[in-house]
């Protein structure tokens, strides 16, 4: 059996900007949580989640980097910031809230994984 959870239940995140790239660090609270992140939060899934940030007609290119020692994934979203902070029309021109958007992502996980979820620091 499976259950739907929100990424915010098992991870924390911070986002930032460099030119027209947004970047997000995503962190599990423990190794079991990291295994779920690594399996579920793929670059393709993240690209779909943030498709609305791409320039009209463009596809969002997303890179993922894995850091198992830090129980962390790093995502780089190319072309996600409306051309960059100083030419963007957006309220969040620096992409600071993009991490929160990622944490809204729903995940379908096994019941036993959900039962063992750590939702804060050990």
């Amino acid at each position: 059996m499976t259950r739907e959870v929100r990424l915010a239940q098992l991870a924390h995140a911070r986002s930032g900007d460099k030119a027209d790239r947004a970047d997000i660090g995503l962190f599990a609270w423990d190794a079991a949580g990291y295994a779920i992140l690594e399996r579920e939060v793929t670059a393709a899934r993240v690209a779909g989640h943030f498709a609305h940030l791409a320039a009209p007609g463009a596809a969002l290119k997303v890179e993922r980097h894995e850091l198992p020692g830090l129980l962390a994934l790093k995502f780089v979203l190319h072309g996600a910031l409306d051309g960059g902070a100083a030419r963007s029309l957006r309220s969040d021109n620096l992409g600071k809230t993009i991490a929160a958007q990622l944490l809204r992502m729903p995940l379908t996980i096994a019941d036993h994984e959900a039962a063992a979820l750590r939702e804060g620091p050990p």
């Binding site: 911070r14 930032g16 030419r87």
Partner: protein, 466 residues
């Protein structure tokens, strides 16, 4: 083993220096390194300099050091700051005047040579393409619209300034983490172009420490992006900025001053470690390439986290250059709508404004409408279940246009609606001034074209005083 304690200063132009007091009084720091320059802060400084050639530096410098120097000087604490912006000499002169007026003595160094704007044609003639790092487009497409162009310098000139006995080093654009790496290189005598792998690893450790400290409170529990857990970080009002105690072998403990708020833990430190890093196995800087894949963070408890195991690779051949170019104007307006039908009324207003733009033939390249309080930040991932029954919502509309007059005219399309538009509109906070938009142009420049131009100048306040 010898160790050095270095504390974080500001994380951006406009940040608070109050937390630095605790680092000076109780943190045992020997250096404060302070980052005033975000990627496009130079654009703001360029406007200042255009108005007054003695400006072009971040004006928080003088009040910050006027407040902190009386605490730093008796303890022998030195400052490294990129507050020089586009005009380190101007920053120095302002500081010299302020210190002389108070009768304070200090040795102030400037680092210049990062500014490449006046050299673009020379670089192009020498075969440096300055092509856009992502798109590969030639810089000639924006050449006439450039407002600044600066190379990111590394630690070397700051080390030279410290070796000449500087108490305060003012730089322009340098890699943020180099502000922190430089004092370590100076104190420990680490070679900057080593031949041994172990020495590159040490530089990589120093760079990692700098990266952990360069965003002030983000390294000690500020902006901690975790649901619920953020609220358990104690006393952010009195946050202590991070302090690193670095050993000669490069290993470090990140901590903060006793009695301050915030938190230094595995979680808060790793959030900052990856912040604005792209490939964590190849974090580029002018001095060393840092591989975080092998890096260890050990939470020692009591707001202490040990940082060890970074791997370093030889520095890149090219320096990064970031230019900014004029990219039109932004005009905007914000108005609020109350229940009932708050969102429907905001949407009707969007349609009206678009119609007015067309009827008045105001040329705009792009129109953005945001429903603040509803989905501005979460976009398609916002909860829409109460969309038809919002208590209130704010409409923000923004346009991108080529002409300033259009950006000025845009917010004037709104006020009449208070009496003649949809009901219960409130909170029109005046008609704002337009702002200039800037495109960012990242490129590479060979270091041998830049480094010979870099100059370190040292001045003593007492000598300079009239």
């Amino acid at each position: 083993m010898k160790s050095v304690r270095i504390g974080a200063g500001l994380g951006f132009y406009g940040d608070s220096w109050e937390p630095v007091r605790a680092s000076l009084e109780r943190g045992g720091v020997q250096y404060i390194a302070s980052d005033h320059l975000a990627e496009l802060t130079l654009a703001i400084l360029q406007k200042d300099r255009a108005r007054d050639p003695t400006l072009g530096w971040t004006r928080d410098l003088v009040p910050m050091l006027s407040a902190l120097w009386p605490l730093a000087q008796p303890r022998g604490v030195k400052f490294v700051l990129d507050a020089g912006g586009l005009n380190p000499a101007g920053a120095r002169d302002a500081l010299l005047a302020a210190f002389a007026a108070k009768g304070w003595r200090a040795r102030i160094a400037t680092v210049t040579g990062d500014d490449q704007l006046a050299r673009i044609d020379e670089l192009r003639a020498a075969g440096v393409t300055l092509a856009h790092l992502d798109s590969g487009a030639p810089i000639d497409t924006v050449r006439e619209r450039l407002v600044f162009a600066n190379a990111y310098l590394g630690a070397a000139p700051i080390v030279r300034a410290l070796a000449q006995g500087a108490d305060i080093v003012l730089t322009g654009r340098v890699a943020d983490a180099a502000l922190f790496l430089a004092p370590l290189v100076h104190e420990f005598g680490w070679p900057l172009e080593p031949t041994r792998a172990a020495d590159w690893n040490r530089l990589a450790q120093g760079l990692a420490v700098g990266h952990l400290l360069e965003c002030s409170g983000q390294g000690s529990g500020g902006n901690f992006g975790a649901a619920r857990e953020w609220s358990r970080i104690p006393d952010l009002t009195h946050i202590g900025y991070p302090i690193a105690e670095v050993s000669e072998d490069g290993t470090a403990v990140v901590t903060k001053a006793e009695g301050t708020g915030g938190r230094v833990s595995f979680d808060t430190v790793r959030q900052q470690l990856l912040y604005e890093v792209h490939d964590p196995r190849r974090y580029l800087s002018p001095d060393v390439v840092l591989d975080m894949g092998s890096l260890r963070l050990d939470d020692l408890g009591g707001d202490r986290v040990r940082v060890s195991g970074a791997t370093g690779h030889p520095r890149p051949e090219a320096l990064k250059l970031v230019a900014g170019y004029d990219d039109g104007w932004l005009g905007q307006c914000v108005v609020g709508f109350c229940w009932p039908d708050a969102l429907a009324k905001a949407r009707a207003t969007v349609e009206s404004v678009k119609l007015q733009l067309a009827e008045r033939r105001l040329p705009v390249d792009e129109v953005l409408a945001e429903f603040i309080g509803h989905d501005t930040f979460l976009g398609p991932h916002a909860d829409r279940s109460r969309e038809d029954d919002l208590n209130e919502v704010w409409l923000r509309m923004a346009v991108r246009c080529r002409e300033r007059r259009v950006a000025e005219a845009f917010p004037r399309l709104f006020p009449w609606m208070a009496l003649s538009g949809p009901p219960y509109m409130g909170g029109l906070h005046g008609v704002g001034a337009p702002s200039q938009l800037l495109g960012v142009w990242p490129a590479l420049v060979p270091r041998e074209r830049v480094e010979p131009q870099v100059e370190v100048t040292v001045t003593d306040v007492a000598e300079a005083a009239p």
